[in-house]
């Protein structure tokens, strides 16, 4: 079935209207910018209700199969809906790990039973998902995970801990990577992958206070926690392979995500607008030649990123390193965001030194965004690790 231009145009209008009319009113409390910053029950419930509403009205999971809770439509419609969400600056959909990583993973590699059981709850936000990859002693070095899973009858007994579990205290399921063996040919061989139920005895997520002073994620402790053996994804020892597939979704290198706005994205237009309002030495910052040059540089970089996405759709224009664009998405966007926030603060003169308070420019959101921006440049593999990965896998440089 092909989609006609008329259908696309009609849907564009429909989505645009729906998000214009249904954008939630300001809740009266500060909203997080990403799922990694959900710090209070109030924030969580607000966002979960929003995702549920978006799902019930058919604007997320549109391209996922009907039989599991999606709409079975062409991806183009989901892209339009996602764009409308960004345009109307509606809140993001909080079940990010489910929608963008675990969901597409289950659809791509899961069994029929797993698809039936998990997909709908991911879309409706009824079942929140979290991720148990990083450990306190092994941040970006996932292959060295030490959290142990020992088979006991039809259960696994888990011991150890995971860190940076966003939404840990709200999650029903965790995508968990744990060590089922230590005597494989290498460290990767002993890893296994689980879709672990969080409401199991012995699993305890403890909130961590972030550099912003807020809460947003947990360290999750496993003390003889028993989970059903049936929740293993793939076979014992295949965990690394499944985890790598997950990371391809996480980094946007593989498609199939449910779509929907994953974060309140900061656009370069916001910075230009701030530069018009913010004053340096009594004059609008945008009149300062030094500020202007830096703004142009940032716009050029932001446009470059968007043109890269456009060029990636033209196979004839791939370079000798065809995976470079898809493999570098997270690195480029997270680093740009961090620098945009840094720059936004620099526009404020002495007020740059304020923090979240009524006196601060825009209530201090730029300072808070800057501190939070490190979640992007550190989470999911630090920018430094990303450089290694791209250097080795895209350019073929030797490992260190």
């Amino acid at each position: 079935m092909t989609t006609t231009q008329a259908e696309i145009a009609e849907f564009e209008e429909q989505a645009d209207r729906w998000f214009a009319e249904n954008k939630p009113a300001n809740p009266g409390f500060i909203l997080p910018e990403t799922f990694m910053e959900v710090g209070t029950d109030q924030q969580f419930e607000f966002l979960r209700d929003w995702q549920q509403k978006v799902y019930e009205n058919g604007y997320v999971g549109m391209s996922w199969p009907k039989e599991y809770g999606g709409l079975g439509m062409d991806q183009v419609f989901q892209d339009i809906a996602t764009k409308a969400m960004a345009k109307h600056r509606v809140p993001f959909l909080p079940n990010t790990i489910g929608l963008n990583w675990a969901g597409p993973l289950i659809l791509a590699m899961g069994t029929e039973e797993e698809k039936q059981r998990y997909i709908k709850g991911i879309l409706s936000a009824e079942d929140i998902w979290c991720q148990g990859f990083s450990e306190p002693d092994h941040g970006s070095d996932l292959g060295s995970a030490q959290c142990k899973a020992v088979k006991d009858g039809d259960e696994y007994i888990i011991n150890g801990s995971k860190i940076w579990t966003s939404l840990g205290s709200y999650a029903k399921y965790m995508i968990l990577i744990a060590r089922t063996s230590t005597d494989g040919p290498n460290k990767y061989a002993g890893l296994s992958f689980f879709l672990a139920p969080m409401q199991s005895e012995g699993i305890e997520p403890r909130p961590i206070k972030k550099l912003t002073g807020e809460y947003g994620f947990c360290q999750t402790f496993f003390n003889d926690a028993r989970i059903p053996a049936s929740c293993m994804m793939g076979k014992e020892g295949e965990g690394w392979k499944v985890a790598m597939a997950t990371l391809m979704f996480e980094r946007g290198a593989a498609g199939g995500q449910a779509g929907g706005l994953a974060m309140m994205d900061l656009s370069i237009d916001d910075i230009v607008e701030l530069a018009r309002r913010a004053k340096r030495n009594g004059k609008p910052a945008i009149e300062d030649p030094h500020v202007r040059e830096q703004l142009v540089d940032l716009i050029t970089e932001a446009r470059g990123n968007s043109y890269m996405s456009a060029r990636a759709k033209v196979p004839a224009l791939a370079t000798d390193w065809p995976t470079a664009i898809s493999m570098s998405g997270k690195l480029r966007s997270s680093e740009l965001k961090r620098r945009m926030c840094q720059f936004a603060i620099s526009l404020q003169g002495a007020n740059g030194a304020r923090y979240v308070s009524p006196e601060a420019v825009d209530g201090g959101m730029w300072q808070r965004s800057y501190l939070n921006a490190f979640s992007g440049t550190i989470g999911g593999g630090t920018s430094q690790i990303q450089h290694n990965i791209i250097g080795e896998r895209v350019l073929g440089l030797p490992k260190g």
């Binding site: 764009k83 230009v272 530069a275 945008i286 030649p289 202007r292 040059e293 703004l295 142009v296 540089d297 716009i299 050029t300 970089e301 446009r303 470059g304 990123n305 968007s306 043109y307 890269m308 456009a310 060029r311 759709k313 033209v314 004839a316 224009l317 370079t319 000798d320 390193w321 470079a324 664009i325 570098s328 690195l331 480029r332 430094q384 450089h387 290694n388 791209i390 250097g391 080795e392 895209v394 350019l395 073929g396 440089l397 030797p398 490992k399 260190g400």
Partner: protein, 373 residues
């Protein structure tokens, strides 16, 4: 949503150009050509002509292919990648000058010859490096059916081979363009310049009160279009050059050992190499976005797009060339190391027609200021 289009014609031209440049311009050939008088071997030039490349942007009525500058981009990019020298770029720009600003008679006289392989050139920059139209030192005065031209231009590419050169000058007080034929130039009017990119053949053109037929003044002077064409093609050359220099870097990083390790395993070299890769990807994206704007006739966006491409590419290519030399260590300090070829090319491209700071300065009002209604 900004798109990037790439037509079947472009795809075919690119495939041909990639093979052509790989075959005719391996780096050892680039080096032997440096020693020659001309920037390209005559037989190679003839092959370009036979492929129809000189007529790509020239309408079919004048013997060309009737395509757009966007179709030239993949060719220039491939040439850039292999550091191929030739009068292709100045000839294409001279054709643009005639196309956008020439009279019907001038087009009829010269465009078919260019399409058939006659080298041409363009002289926009004054010998002091300034090409700002408000400060043109060169001038021409029309009296009856004669025009008298006094000009001192620099960076006139392949001028000794060019049969015609389009020269910018104040014509009766207004920025304009005058066409000069090779045979009209007095002895000594062209002097070879020493420039940093040794694959180029660059000349100073100096004439003092040279009398020419008045019909050699172009009736229009669409400097904006000509400059945009120059920026687009230089950026395409940089995009190709970035890919070329990245290969040179990777070859060395994966074969050279120090302290028992391939040097590419050291993060201090690996990470900047990745930065170069990403800047190349960005450059290529800006270039083909600009090409798309031109192909679609998206007039309002062309200036913005080409200036961005030139600003981004200038910095990226110069950084890549600089790091390429550094990463080769002691070998990088020698003439034999190919890194210097790319660094020299990068510096040429960076400073011709404005570096990053120059274009950012001009982009600022386009991108930041509310349009006054």
């Amino acid at each position: 949503m900004a798109t990037i289009e790439f037509s079947e014609e472009q795809t075919m031209l690119m495939e041909t150009a990639v093979d052509f440049c790989r075959k005719h311009s391996p780096l050892d050939r680039v080096r032997t050509q440096i020693e020659q008088e001309a920037s390209v071997d005559p037989s190679v030039w003839q092959e370009m002509v036979d492929l129809g490349w000189l007529g790509i942007t020239i309408p079919e009525t004048y013997g060309g292919l009737g395509l757009s500058l966007a179709d030239v981009v993949p060719i220039v990019e491939s040439m850039g990648r292999h550091l191929m020298g030739s009068p292709f770029l100045p000839t294409t720009l001279a054709a643009q000058a005639l196309l956008t600003s020439g009279s019907e008679g001038q087009k009829e006289q010269w465009l078919p010859q260019i399409a058939a392989g006659m080298p041409a050139s363009i002289a926009l920059t004054e010998d002091d490096g300034n090409w700002n139209l408000a400060e043109l030192g060169s001038f021409a005065n029309v009296q009856g059916d004669k025009v008298r031209l006094t000009a001192k231009k620099g960076f006139v590419l392949d001028a000794s081979q060019a049969k015609v050169i389009v020269v910018s000058a104040n014509v009766d007080g207004k920025p304009g363009l005058v066409l000069v034929q090779a045979e009209q130039l007095p002895q000594g009017a062209l002097v070879r310049e020493t420039v940093i990119d040794e694959t180029r053949r660059s000349f100073t053109l100096e004439v003092d009160d040279l009398e020419l037929p008045a019909e050699q003044v172009l009736p229009e002077a669409d400097f904006a279009s000509i400059e945009q064409a120059a920026l687009l093609l230089l950026s395409a050359e940089m995009s190709g050059g970035l890919a070329g220099v990245l290969h040179v870097i990777i070859d060395y990083l994966t074969t050279r050992k120090q302290f028992d390790q391939y040097i590419g395993s050291y993060q201090s070299l690996k990470h900047p190499t990745v930065e170069i890769l990403l800047s190349m990807e960005a450059c290529r994206s800006h270039v083909y976005r600009a090409a798309t704007c031109i192909a679609q006739g998206n007039i309002g966006e062309i200036e913005e797009a080409v200036r961005m491409a030139k600003a981004q590419g200038s910095e990226a290519f110069a950084f890549a060339g600089d790091r390429a030399v550094q990463f080769h260590g002691g070998f990088g300090f020698t003439y034999d190391c190919d890194a210097q070829l790319f660094l020299r090319r990068a510096l040429w491209c960076q400073y011709q027609f404005g570096d990053a700071a120059y274009h950012r300065n001009l982009l600022a009002p386009l991108l930041l200021d509310e349009v006054a209604l």
